[in-house]
């Protein structure tokens, strides 16, 4: 049933969210995508904190540093610096798109066994935002004339055999970790794309009169 759900979700982001006339170019939508990644990063921070506390120790310990076991299924943000730097725009966007498609799929699986109603609500809210990010990336790709990654490709994830409770929690932990890393990488990816599209960036000035000078 979960596989069915994932296939449905796989097709959903195919529809570009944009339908504008007088398109000013991909610049504004890249900015929007960048802003979305920052917003999601912020959202994830509180969501992850709550979820890890729900999982309990050792998952919510700050120094928890387990070895990576069955994590081949998850899309990894880790990349060699020179490879990352030399990615062409299409590939850069496609990698982001594919990663979040997979991650969203897994995240919906997480939702299933989350205990408290509040946690389920937070997860649902996050999934919706992540859906929005996918739509935004799709919009940028469409604006730049890139085709979306092939829809027929089966996600490498398959229905998981019944795990032990601990291993299930480990999977959850790595999913959140990977999400966090991807969001942080996406910010850098979209920042790079933004710079390419908009050579003259406007300076945002925030005036704060603080009594203390601490930051």
């Amino acid at each position: 049933m979960l596989a069915c759900l994932c296939t449905v979700l796989w097709h959903l982001p195919a529809v570009p969210a944009l339908n504008r006339t007088g398109d000013p170019g991909p610049g504004p939508s890249i900015q929007k995508t960048y802003d979305l990644t920052r917003y999601l990063e912020h959202q994830l921070r509180s969501l992850a904190g709550t979820y890890l506390n729900y999982l309990g120790p050792p998952f919510n310990e700050p120094d928890f540093n387990p070895p990576r076991l069955s994590a081949e299924a998850l899309p990894s943000a880790t990349v060699d610096f020179n490879v990352w730097r030399s990615l062409n725009d299409h590939l850069r966007l496609a990698q982001n798109y594919q990663a979040y498609s997979h991650l969203l799929c897994y995240l919906r699986g997480l939702d299933r066994h989350a205990a408290t109603a509040e946690l389920r609500r937070s997860l649902a809210h996050f999934c919706t935002s992540l859906q929005g990010l996918l739509g935004s990336i799709a919009g940028v790709m469409a604006a730049l004339g890139y085709p979306l990654p092939p829809q027929g490709a089966e996600p490498s994830w398959a229905p998981r055999p019944p795990h032990s409770d601990f291993l299930q929690k480990m999977d959850d932990f790595w999913l959140l970790k990977e999400l966090q890393t991807w969001l942080w990488r996406s910010a850098k990816d979209f920042n790079r794309l933004k710079k390419k599209m908009q050579p003259s960036a406007a300076a945002v000035t925030l005036r704060l009169e603080a009594a203390a000078s601490d930051l």
């Binding site: 920052r38 990063e41 120094d63 540093n65 070895p67 990576r68 990894s76 943000a77 880790t78 990349v79 060699d80 610096f81 990352w84 730097r85 790595w174 970790k177 990977e178 966090q180 890393t181 991807w182 942080w184 990488r185 910010a187 850098k188 920042n191 790079r192 710079k195 960036a201 406007a202 300076a203 945002v204 000035t205 925030l206 005036r207 704060l208 009169e209 603080a210 009594a211 000078s213 930051l215």
Partner: protein
């Protein structure tokens, strides 16, 4: 003919050297490390306990009170006990034992910090001991990234720092850095674990310069450069935080800038000297740098207009206006009246005028206007 003589000489010399070496092999300088506050007993080599000996510390004789037979007893070692100890037997001053004593401490748990000021190239770790050991220490650093062991390249100077290069970016696996410090009296270690992006902290911006803006008495133009240690500002842009205040006030004003390395302050108090500092941060990750070296500047002020006639009378009244308008004269300078001898009062008025103007401009120059 002379060869057998030479050979004999050589043999005698060799024998002498061997004898000398044999004699002094028992007097090789021992190197001792002892703990502060502990007690130590130094034997006089192989001399019997009841042998008459003389102990010397750094060439000075020691009193017999410290002796236990031929052995030297030192109780409650402190740093002043460090030095060269020698034991001589009998009236022939036969050196039986010598040692270099170093009084010190085993190392306490070191303090280790890691930081990336050159993201994404790599990061460095630096350490120090919370208390001195007074004896030489060796440091060993190991870096674990998941299951991979990375090398930490030691800096020649400062010598309590080493560098690690990032091989991959955007890693989900934490880094674990372990530092072990060892000396002759013991060892200790500490370890820290962190994610790649949490230790990012750039160096402060460089070359912060503040300049007045001509014809703008409330503006200051500030420029700076991204720190030279930040390798790739294009791909990993920095944002900046600027703070400024006049020297006479304590309250800072802050401006956050997401782009660019220049900013114009438009609300400076006229004529006041300002102190300005800038800090930098990666756009998305890590923490703010320390504040930069401060720049000082005073906004542009109008040049005082000096009259060419000299002041003669002492300063009279003071006014608070920046521009001086000479009071209307009641006397009209009528060329027809010059011959009447009325010229001198006019001349006096002119002198007074000059004096007041000079006073006004003096006030302006000292910046008392707010």
């Amino acid at each position: 003919m002379a060869t057998p003589v030479l050979w004999a000489c050589f043999v005698v010399l060799a024998a002498g050297v061997v004898a000398y070496a044999q004699r002094h092999s028992q007097q090789d300088t021992h190197v001792l490390y002892e703990r502060l506050g502990s007690d130590v007993t130094l034997p006089c080599g192989t001399a019997a306990w009841d042998t008459a000996v003389t102990w010397r510390v750094n060439g000075t004789d020691l009193e017999a009170a410290h002796l236990n037979g031929s052995q030297l007893v030192l109780e409650g070692l402190d740093l002043s006990h460090s030095g060269h100890y020698a034991c001589y037997q009998g009236s022939s001053w036969h050196l039986r034992y010598q040692a270099l004593l170093h009084v010190g401490m085993p190392p306490r748990e070191p303090v280790l910090t890691c930081r990336s000021n050159s993201y994404p190239k790599g990061f460095y770790c630096s350490w120090h001991l919370p208390a001195p050991t007074f004896i030489p220490n060796t440091f060993n650093v190991t870096v674990l990234h998941g299951s991979r062991l990375l090398g930490c390249e030691k800096d020649p100077a400062p010598k309590n720092r080493c560098h690690i290069r990032y091989t991959h970016l955007f890693s989900t696996v934490k880094y674990k850095v372990t530092l072990t410090v060892t000396n002759a009296l013991g060892h200790n270690s500490t370890a820290i674990t962190f994610d790649e992006f949490t230790i990012v902290k750039p160096d402060p911006p460089e070359n912060v310069v503040a300049r007045p803006v001509p014809s703008s008495p409330r503006r200051l133009e500030v420029t700076w450069q991204t720190p030279s240690s930040w390798p790739d500002p294009e791909s990993f842009p920095l944002k900046f935080f600027l703070r400024y205040r006049p020297l006479i006030l304590d309250q800072w004003q802050h401006v956050e800038l997401s782009d660019g390395t220049t900013h114009t302050i438009t609300d400076a108090y006229a004529g006041k000297e300002y102190i300005i500092q800038v800090a930098a941060k990666d756009n998305e990750i890590g923490t703010w740098s320390d504040w930069s070296v401060a720049a000082h500047a005073t906004p542009w002020t109008e040049e005082p207009r000096y009259l060419t006639t000299e002041a003669q009378a002492p300063e009279t009244t003071t006014t608070t206006t920046t521009s001086f308008v000479p009071p209307p004269t009641t006397k009209i300078c009528d060329p027809g009246e010059v011959g009447d001898g009325v010229g001198s009062p006019t001349g006096l008025l002119l002198t007074v005028t000059v004096t007041v103007t000079v006073t006004v401009t003096t006030i302006a120059a000292t910046g008392l206007f707010i």
